[in-house]
């Protein structure tokens, strides 16, 4: 087991390509996406039932054990969230190495 950070981001589906592009650029190539997630927040309801997909969210889960990489990543995430809304949570976890 190895301690790591567990990052959870909820953001609009349409913003995900930018997020993954950012990760790729930083060499963060491990992530999991849960698409078509619904929710409610400062910008109202998102029912994940609209044709444009405009109103569905994606939950992004990232395990990262490189603090430096993590910080630069979070710096890049903030502006996205400011413009398009969403949340980002960071918590501690143990990573089962294999």
């Amino acid at each position: 087991m190895k301690t790591c950070k567990r990052i959870e981001i909820v953001i609009e589906n349409s913003m995900v390509p930018r997020l993954t592009a950012l990760m790729k650029q930083l060499g963060l190539d491990g992530y999991t996406l849960i698409p078509d997630v619904r929710g409610s927040g400062d910008r109202g309801m998102r029912r994940a039932d609209e044709l444009s997909g405009e109103s569905s969210n994606c939950l992004v889960l990232i395990a990262c054990d490189n603090q430096v990489m993590l910080d630069t990543f979070l710096e890049g995430v903030r502006p996205l969230l400011v413009r398009a809304g969403g949340i980002c949570l960071v918590s501690d976890a143990q990573w089962l190495r294999h």
């Binding site: 109202g44 609209e50 044709l51």
Partner: protein, 331 residues
């Protein structure tokens, strides 16, 4: 009046009502999201293919190209005056997004209009499907140009867009791409191709349109309710009024421009109606999606609610027969 009733009492429109009614009585009726998405893809595929086959059976002459040009110009002009009408009354980003939304078109309104014509036995030309596809994108570009120009003037943060990317994004938009692609394939394979896919493309068309409009009714009504519930907290009553008035008057204004074009081009009844419908309709798929990416400052609660929850039903239920009456009276 009778034409209103007769057009309202077709299965597709009644299913739109049914969807709205389901929300009104707080029914848990829902079309699964992926099914709704598929139904919209099907409609684009079918209308595109039909249009392409029709095109392959006619000859492309100057008048057709003229119509395509005129409609594209229209979709670039509409956003301009829309923007100037709204910029003093709404945040500049919202004004730009609404302008783009109303310059572009609603594929389903167009599709419903073709169904309306088919049922009434009035002919229409396949190339108008191309017109629809071509009208999807220009408005997006115009909207963003306007925003950038005036945002800087008023010291807002501007959008740093690479025009090339934006152009790419708008033609490569899934919906636009599928219509154009299906149209091309219909045009290449022609009558023989139609023979192969007819049961899907023609046979099921009105039936699946019913199910899709059922979902649209649900989605539109839910959005209206969410807007009422959560809107208050966020938007001023003034904004409300502006949105409502704009969502009702813009289609009429744009429709009359479309009517003028149809008149000048001397289009036959069916084509005239479709051009007017294209002018009057507002996008709720391609443009909102593009706006979220290019102009996230704009609040979807304004432009999407206007186009999806007010203008769309208005065109669908009253607009089409009204425009048709006007055309018959004028042309």
């Amino acid at each position: 009046m009778s034409v209103f009733m007769s057009s309202l009492s077709t299965p597709p429109l009644l299913f739109f009502f049914l969807g709205a009614a389901a929300v009104a009585v707080r029914s848990d009726l829902q079309i699964p999201a992926q099914i709704a998405k598929f139904l919209s893809l099907y409609l684009l595929f079918a209308i595109g293919f039909k249009g392409g086959v029709a095109l392959s059976e006619s000859t492309i002459d100057a008048s057709i190209l003229l119509t395509l040009l005129a409609t594209m110009v229209l979709s670039a002009v509409v956003p301009v005056y829309t923007f100037f009408l709204l910029r003093r009354r709404l945040p500049i980003a919202d004004a730009a997004a609404i302008a783009a939304t109303y310059g572009s078109v609603s594929a389903v309104t167009f599709v419903t209009a073709t169904g309306y014509l088919d049922v009434q036995g009035i002919a229409w030309s396949g190339y108008l499907v191309a017109a629809m596809a071509l009208m999807e994108s220009p408005a997006i570009l115009v909207g963003i140009v306007l925003y950038n120009h005036f945002a800087t003037r008023e010291g807002n943060t501007t959008v740093s867009v690479s025009w090339l990317q934006l152009l790419r994004e708008s033609v490569s938009n899934g919906s636009v791409f599928l219509i154009l692609g299906s149209m091309l394939i219909g045009w290449i394979t022609g009558t023989e191709g139609m023979r192969q896919v007819e049961p899907l493309v023609k046979g099921l068309f009105l039936g699946l349109l019913c199910l899709f409009l059922l979902d649209m009714g649900i989605v539109a009504a839910q959005r209206l309710r969410d807007f009422q519930q959560s809107g208050e907290r966020r938007l001023s009553g003034e904004t409300f009024r502006v949105m409502l008035v704009a969502a009702v008057l813009l289609p009429l204004l744009n429709a009359s421009l479309g009517l003028g074009i149809a008149y000048l081009l001397g289009l036959p009844q069916g084509n005239a109606l479709l051009v007017v419908v294209l002018a009057a309709s507002a996008s709720y798929i391609a443009v909102p999606a593009a706006m979220r990416l290019a102009l996230p400052e704009a609040n979807p609660a304004t432009y999407l609610t206007m186009s999806l929850a007010i203008t769309f039903p208005l065109n669908l239920l009253l607009g089409i027969p009204a425009y048709h009456a006007a055309i018959r009276w004028l042309l």
